[in-house]
Subunit: 314 residues, 2 copies
């Protein structure tokens, strides 16, 4: 009987699921809506029912589901305790233990979604072939995941890989979601890039293709304009890349992975973004000509189900 | 037969050695000079002879040496390769493999000395009882070691734990040993603290007890004066603590250990130093009320032999 595993990525809107062979081949993927009513009381039941159906289908096809991995949008303590998951309405839960109970004792593993996505990119994405990677997700916010020796470094207080909240800039007046001022996320997230552009536009009368978008300018607008050579957009991206390079150098001098894997919406700018980051990154790492590589994520929104399934394999 | 292990800490002047029980009890310690002549060609032979003698002595006492751990002052790659150890004169060596050969195949493990010291503090020092610690050594330079799940995170390019070279201050004109400008080490090492004080003294005519030492002012002078309430010395320590707190917060947002263990000569200032660091550290970690503890190292110069011996236990 072929052994397979299931990866579950619980988001605030939908739960993505995938069934995988041990070699990382995705057999099928599907999703169900996330019922956040009544403090998310039904989420695990819904997941259990969907997994149960998939297990029965697998068995009919001569496959055995050996376990389930699950990524959740919040900190997961080392004993599996989840104190709070704002987007799901959860408080004081043990998701792995509870889901395993609903599945008749099937092994279930649970991790923070950003960390789990990093594990997915290590397994079958931009970090394939490496054992030590740090993933950086540049989306609405800036997230991260640290993988050492093929395992998630979760940290003891749910802070590992929270590189979006590393302080990089003094004098920032707006507060970050975390309560800090001057976090990387405030500059390098999609939201942050757009705000940097708005500030640059407001600060002078210089011509820029970004003026037509005005207040509605997006990170994609900025990246497209920078690629096309727009001077103001290039300056914004220089600032963004400066702080990203600084933080990647800091992380290299702490965890020293083989490769940084850059993902999230902003990373769709591709090699242009990597090239922008490379110069400041290397300037802040003059200590050594050997340093972690910079690469791009490749799994997109599927990184979560890949990483969740990979947790089952230990 | 009781099983014991030997820890070896190879320094530029002397090689410290210790024999330990599995429970971490130090049975005896001794040292031999480091012969750095001819590119350090004799160092491993000298270590082997001394270890051999200790093994025979142990056997006569009914003890069996199950292995040797060794810390060396330079980066050790994951395959055990040491490209260069400036202080020893070594180039292109495999110290663990070579020493094991000289000891008739006895298991030998090798790591970077700062990382090994961190493991020692985790085992029997300021990090005892914890599995995830980051050690920060404030000495002539600033070193560090990252321990996750009781194991050294060595990194793939010898950069893990090199937190002394994290960039913290713009506009620094003097270059750091690493070639960078504005590294933590330039502010927070003993050398850095003394320089900050010299700069402060030169920048104004304000009265300070440090004026009598003048150009000869040391980090200890600054710490003593700050403890005694000297305003200028307190300002210097505020700057130092600001950057230390910033870097500890950055490391917490990457590796999130249970505790930071602060060692090295500067840490002799004790709880006063920890109190100074705590405020900026917490300010840069407003994201979470739960964060890594701050503590002091307790093993002093013996951390290296403890950690080296601990490597034998896996």
């Amino acid at each position: 009987m072929e052994q397979v595993c299931i990866g579950v990525d619980v988001g605030g809107t939908s739960v993505k699921m995938g069934m995988f062979r041990r070699d990382g081949h995705l057999l099928k993927k599907w999703e169900i809506p996330t019922r956040t009513q009544e403090h998310g009381a039904y989420i695990l039941e819904d997941v259990a029912a969907s997994v149960q159906a998939a297990c029965e289908e697998a068995q009919a096809a001569g496959q055995q589901v050996i376990g389930v991995g699950m990524g959740v949008p919040g900190p997961v303590e080392s004993d599996g305790h989840v104190e709070v998951c704002v987007n799901l309405g959860w408080k004081d839960r043990f998701p792995a233990r509870e889901l395993s109970g609903l599945l008749g004792g099937l092994p279930v593993f649970c991790g923070n979604d950003a960390n789990v996505a990093a594990l997915g990119e290590m397994w079958q994405g931009g970090g394939k072939g490496y054992k030590d990677i740090v993933m950086v997700t540049l989306g609405t916010g800036v997230g991260g995941g640290v993988i050492v020796d093929e395992k998630i470094v979760a940290g003891r207080h749910g802070l590992a890989g929270e590189i979006g909240h590393i302080h990089v800039r003094n004098g920032e007046k707006e507060a970050c979601n975390c309560g800090g001022h001057g976090c990387l996320e405030q500059v390098a997230s999609a939201t942050g890039i757009a705000r940097e552009a708005r500030r640059s536009l407001a600060a002078s009368d210089r011509p820029s293709v970004l003026r037509q978008a005005g207040e509605q300018v997006t990170a994609k607008d900025v990246l497209d304009a920078a690629k096309a050579g727009d001077a103001l957009a290039l300056e914004v991206m220089e600032t963004v890349a400066h702080y990203l390079g600084l933080v990647l150098a800091q992380v290299a001098l702490t965890a020293d992975p083989e490769i940084f894997v850059i993902g999230g919406g902003v990373s769709k700018a591709g090699p242009f973004l990597i090239d922008q980051i490379r110069r400041p990154y290397e300037e802040f790492l003059v200590i050594s000509p050997k340093r972690p590589l910079l690469g791009l994520a490749t799994l997109g929104n599927d990184a979560g189900i890949y990483g969740a399934a990979r947790m089952v394999l230990g």
